[in-house]
Structures are given as C-alpha cells and as structure tokens.
Symmetry: C2
Subunit: 210 residues, 2 copies
DNA sequence: CCCTGTGAACCTGTTCACAGCG
DNA sequence: CGCTGTGAACAGGTTCACAGGG
C-alpha cells in the first residue's frame, strides 16, 4: 500500500476506472460495486478490487464504492487532481488535431503552447494555443513549469527534440512518432504508434475469422 | 507453431520488430541478430526469438535474420502484405488528422472513405479521401470490401456507429472514442484513449521522481 | 565461435475463495 | 446478506541456459 512498484496493466486499468466513474458521476450515480463496473468494462470484479488495493481501501463492504470520492482519489493517484501544463511539439496535422482535442482539457490537462520550425505557423494560434519556434522550448518549459510534452514531429526529428525536452526538465513524453526514444531514467516515455494499432487490429481480425 | 493463441504482448512487439526491420531495410542493412534488435528496441534477445517462434523459424544460427525476408514474413503474419481498405468514421479534427496521417499509407493501409453527419463536410474531400454521409456506410463497406474501420466520433455516438459497422461486415474497429464498445466476438476492437495515455504518463512521471 | 531455437525454471499478474464487516 | 479486502492457488508470459547448426 505504500510505494511498492505498480504494474503497468494496473495503471492502464486505473484510467478506465476513472473514466467509468466520471461517466457515472455525470449521470448522478452515487455508488457502484466492483461487480457493476466489471461488467461495463469487461474485466473481473476481483481485478478491480486488487488494483485499488495497491493504493488503499476505498470501498465499504456490503455497499460498494462512493462514485465521487473514488473518482477524486483516482485523480489524485494519477496526478491529475490539479491542472498540469502540457506542450505539443510539432504543429502538423496530428499536432493540430491533438491541440484541438477536447479530451485532454476535460481530464484537467492545460495545453499551454505548441512548437514548430515552420515560419508560417509561428506566432499564430491553434485554437487558443500559441505556436512558438522550437528554439523557445527551454524558455517556455521553465516559465510555465511544464512537466509533460506531446511529441508529434516526424520520426527523424523525434530523438533530437526528445533530448531538448529532457534537457529543459520535462518529466514525461507522449511520443506519437514511430520510433524508440533514448531518454534518462527519470523521464517517462510512452509510445503511441497509430499505424501499429491498425496492424494489431489487422492481425486480430484475421484470427477472429477462424 | 500452427494456430495456437498468440498473446497480445507478442503481437504488440511484432509491430515493433516490423518497424525496426523497415528502418533497417531503408538503410540498406541486409542482416540483423536478435541481440542487435533487442538493444534498439529495449527488449531482450530471447524475447524476440521466442516471439518469432510462434510463427516459425526465420533465422540462421551464427548469422541472424535476413532483414527483408523477415520483414515480409511479419507483414504476412500481420495481414498487411496486401493493401487493406480502411474507412474513417467521423471527420472532426481527429478524424481529419488521421485521414491525412501518412503512417497508415506507409504501412500499406488504403484509406478509401470518410463518413460524417455534418452537411457541410459531405461531398468534399479530405486529402484524397471523399466524405460521405454516414447512411452510406453499408453500401461503401460492401462495395470496397472494407474490413477495418477507424472510429473518431464523439463518445456518445460511438456505440451506435459500432453497431452499424458490425452489421455492415467490418472485422475490426480502431476506437478513438473513450468508451467501451459492445460488439460480437468475431469483431476485434482496440481502444486508443489519448487522454488516458497522458494520465498514465502523469502517473509514471510522479513515480519516477522518487 | 556465434547466434538461433527451445525446454525448463522463474516470476509476476490474475483468479479464486473466503473471512470479516456494515 | 452483500460486497469488500486479501492470502493462497493458479496461469501464463518472460528469462535462463544450453543443445545444435552453420
């Protein structure tokens, strides 16, 4: 319950639970059991209880969990209980779509700046977010206390941008460029390879036919 | 080696291996050992060999793997050795960005149509891809023999669109709407929850500081 | 001698089952 | 009685280590 290492699958599911709890709260549902959530999310009830047990005891025997308190607890665990400043590097099609994506804001992330090297993009705004030249990365990161960055640059540029981000003090990088990044141990990286997801789907689809 | 069930993590890594092999092939590298790939991809060499063993024997003891043959083999396994027609449902910011994303084409996927309900979008093209009204989903899916769909509609609409897709004979859905979808067993679904990825990164970043 | 392919050992995440509390 | 929390049993994925082939 203290600071034992938490398996990655657990963190993945924590985000699912949070999403479900947010939906329930919106609908005005006050309490929920692990069994009900399990049905909705296609997991087992024991799994949910075990996952939560990594962080404490949040339920009441015979009742279940109170939706809003558990939601808030999960946000605290994930670190999204207070607004986090995030930047997007790369203002191509994907970068622009991510800047406009409402889901980030809804979850409490503040997109505070975008960066690119293309002259025509710099100085403009995408939605409400200003686009700066990539040279200003360190400056903006420091001034706005940015901890997380979204990387949406071409694969060839990804490593050098990642190094600039680490240098400037970023703690996590969400990488949409299909490459493995080399970063110090204290900087977390998550790769989101969109094409790979389609490939995996293709594989699953082939197998399902049997 | 025949048709035993393949663990999901194996499929995920297969896509990584393919990406690496494509990069190596572009650079003109002719052969590679599991050890070299392991270093580049941050996995173990035994892992790579075990993963490949699910599908056959592709290497030569003392030499390693021939880059292009193994690449082609992986494509065949994943089902991307021949072009696959794909549609995108939802032509909002995210849908548009995905339609323009080069990574899909580079991997052999053909984006053949987009769908939306907004009058102003219908009849136009996004990049080279025509936008149809969502009512024409079944028709286009049948005519173009579409097997895979990308879902980029608001969460509230996702389930009903998914049902239409299944009805029309789609075999796999890449779901960017943050909801769990209910689909028949023979339709594969993969959820890509962009905000959840940032949440997981936030969690990792908090932990890394310790 | 290098590197693959693979059974065996290991380990970690999942499921089970039940004690315990409201 | 319902549902949580959790130790114990289980399952399955990963790592090890070595036989075997070029």
């Amino acid at each position: 319950m203290t600071t034992q290492p938490v398996p990655e699958p657990v963190v993945r599911r924590l985000c699912q639970y949070l999403r479900e709890l947010e939906t329930l709260a919106e609908r005005g549902v006050g309490k929920v059991s692990s069994g009900q959530m399990a049905r909705d999310l296609h997991v087992t009830d024991a799994q949910i209880r075990k996952d939560l047990a990594y962080f404490g005891q949040f339920g009441r025997p015979g009742v279940g969990y109170l939706v809003e308190p558990l939601r808030d607890e999960l946000r605290r665990i994930l670190g999204t209980d207070r607004p986090l400043n995030v930047i997007v590097v790369g203002a191509g099609d994907l970068g622009r779509a991510l800047l406009r994506y409402r889901g980030f804001r809804r979850k409490g992330f503040h997109l505070v700046a975008a960066f690119d090297v293309t002259k025509s993009k710099i100085g403009r705004k995408i939605g409400t977010v200003p686009v700066y030249h990539i040279d200003r990365l360190p400056e903006v990161i420091r001034e706005q206390d940015v901890k997380l960055a979204v990387l949406a640059v071409p694969a060839e540029a990804a490593q050098s941008v990642a190094e600039a981000l680490c240098e400037a003090g970023v703690r996590g990088i969400l990488n949409f460029a299909p490459t493995t990044l080399e970063t110090p141990d204290d900087v977390a990286v998550r790769l989101v390879d969109l094409a790979a997801h389609l490939e995996q789907l293709s594989f699953q689809a082939i197998r399902a036919k049997i």
